[in-house]
């Protein structure tokens, strides 16, 4: 296959590829080969992939081609390459969560997302880099080196699903799966100029997702456009009896919901998201997006989410607390890293864990342990849970007067590598607009709506009512079809 046609393939949307595959104008083997070659050439400079599995991918492609030629059990993803953030448990394939403590860990079981995608006939290209245990907003806290933003190598791609966002933006996979606990899909999607969606809490199963903060973690698709995002979401959404928090309602066909009509929709713009230090270009882009939607027939109203400024503090009590318990299982006993020296049990625990965890993870574990400990629980953890109720109610009240909310995703454009790694609070502030959505358990998505003067992507956020992913996708699709931002790709 010529290089140019391979390049073409790697810039087509997943929906297009799916059509070509079904028409047999393209084989999955060819397509997968094109991606494997590109990854081989390009991954070093960006460091998106922590693990590539070309042999497996080609074998899966071959099996997919069989299905396609027989017309058997076809799904929109059959034969389409995908990549998974290394937080997803993949049976028989090393899964590290970008941590030394899990280096070499090969899961004995398959997670829900991985097995659904396998059944759908998707082809796994590899596992994607991330911030260790999903704790980070820049993918600089990975044990396997930082990921670079394809739009500017000196900048971060965002995090924690930085590898996923960069890989999609750079055309190293048509589709990726990420997770979002405080913005980890939406923020990197914005920084890399792609589409990322965090579903309603419970919409997608967490079984097989290495846990960070159980009441906040959600799985979501990352893609180049809204239709691809909808396609991926349909493949993974739905009830799972292995996850007690999984919502029993069946998921609709999200791609079918993309009518692109926003006439009569009311979209709220929260006052509190446009104060305090938001970058001027970002503010302007998001307001311009509002105008576009207005032009398409939507009504824009000002709404208030009064407790917004407390969301970050609330999150940085609840998330570390849950994480401190979720990460207690990494003790060197049944799997993962065990320190060589210690002969005494407590020492074994301490040294194994200290050797295995990075500094940001250690920081959050200690903060989380503290806020749960005797004497502090009421003042911190219980208090934060009450504030969480206030934040959730802000949104539910707001939805009394609008169908969806439009907001910025990040307060700043992509920042330089190393700029914020030494100051935890500065780093955390990246997520002030995304965190409230996780606390409220609502669906939220990010899609490109502009570029800075320096040629870096700007994203806009849409936040929806519980289980209204279809509504969000529809508004996003209408905006996307009326603009060109999604067509821009970084030069590699």
């Amino acid at each position: 296959m010529s290089k140019s046609s391979a390049r073409e393939l790697c810039s087509k949307s997943a929906a297009e590829l799916s059509t070509l595959l079904k028409k047999r104008e393209l084989s999955s083997h060819e397509l997968t080969r094109a991606y494997i070659d590109k990854i081989e050439r390009r991954n070093k400079e960006l460091n998106c992939y922590v693990l590539q599995c070309p042999e497996l991918a080609l074998a899966q492609a071959k099996a997919a081609d069989e299905r396609l030629s027989k017309g058997e059990r076809l799904t929109p993803l059959t034969g389409v390459p995908i990549a998974l953030k290394d937080i997803f448990i993949t049976q028989g394939i090393e899964t590290t969560c970008a941590s030394k403590i899990l280096k070499g860990y090969v899961p004995p079981y398959d997670g829900n997302a991985s097995s659904r995608l396998k059944s759908a006939g998707a082809v796994l290209l590899g596992k994607l880099n991330m911030d260790e245990f999903a704790m980070g907003s820049s993918n600089e806290f990975s044990a396997f080196g930082p990921v670079r933003n394809p739009w500017n190598r000196e900048c971060t791609p965002g995090g924690s699903s930085g590898g996923s966002a960069a890989a999609v933006a750079a055309g190293l996979t048509p589709l990726a799966l990420g997770t979002d606990t405080g913005g980890s899909i939406r923020q990197p999607a914005a920084f890399c100029g792609i589409v990322g969606l965090k579903p309603t809490y419970g919409r997608v199963s967490r079984y097989g997702v290495i846990a960070f903060a159980s009441s906040l973690d959600q799985v979501g698709p990352m893609a180049r456009d809204v239709r691809d995002c909808a396609m991926m979401l349909s493949a993974i959404a739905g009830h799972d009896p292995m996850d007690s928090t999984s919502i029993p309602q069946p998921a609709p066909d999200y791609a079918a919901a993309l009518v692109g009509d926003v006439k009569g929709k009311t979209i709220g713009v929260p006052t509190e998201y446009f104060v305090s230090g938001i970058d001027a270009e970002i503010g302007a882009s998001v307001r311009a997006a509002a105008k576009v939607l207005e032009g398409l027939g939507a009504r824009i109203v000002e709404i208030s989410l009064p407790h917004t400024k407390y969301a970050l503090a609330c999150y940085y009590i609840i998330a570390p607390a849950e994480a401190s318990a979720n990460l207690a299982r990494y003790d060197g006993i049944r799997f993962g890293h065990r320190a060589k020296g210690p002969h005494e049990l407590t020492d074994l625990f301490k040294i194994s864990r200290t050797e295995g965890f990075g500094p940001e993870v250690a920081l959050r574990i200690v903060v989380g342990t503290y806020v749960l400990s005797s004497g502090y629980y009421d003042a911190y953890y219980l208090k934060a849970q009450k504030v969480r109720t206030l934040i959730k109610n802000d949104f539910l009240d707001a939805f009394g007067s609008c169908d969806a909310i439009l907001a910025p995703v990040t307060p700043t454009p992509p920042f330089k590598l190393g700029e914020k790694t030494d100051d935890p609070i500065q780093m955390y502030l990246n997520d002030i607009f995304t965190i409230p959505v996780n606390l409220a358990g609502l669906p939220g998505m990010s899609l490109p709506c502009g570029m800075t003067r320096d040629g870096l992507p700007i994203g806009m956020q849409l936040i929806g009512k519980p289980l209204d992913e279809a509504g969000l996708l529809n508004i996003a699709y209408a905006y996307e079809q009326a603009t060109e931002w999604h067509k821009r790709i970084p030069v590699l």
Partner: protein, 100 residues
Amino acid sequence: MKKASDIITVVEKTTSLARLRFEPSEFGRFAEKVEAVLSYVAQLNELGTSGIEPTSHAVEVGSALREDKAIRSGIDEKILSAAPARDGPYVQVPKVIDSE
């Protein structure tokens, strides 16, 4: 405002409780970061929350109960093979003196 020595003690105790350990040279900087985060999150005390129910669960409704049917996983050996120290069918650990 906590005294510097208070913070060090608290962070030491909490770090030990979390089964982590730092080199003395790194510990000071680590404790500073912990304190920075704790100070930041303490702003929640500005908010009155009396009468507000805590959100203890992200999903409140539903009943995810499983029927009592025993199913063998069939992957005991795979699970055990991941253990860093093993003796036959057992996982090995340094001798434990006290029972819980």
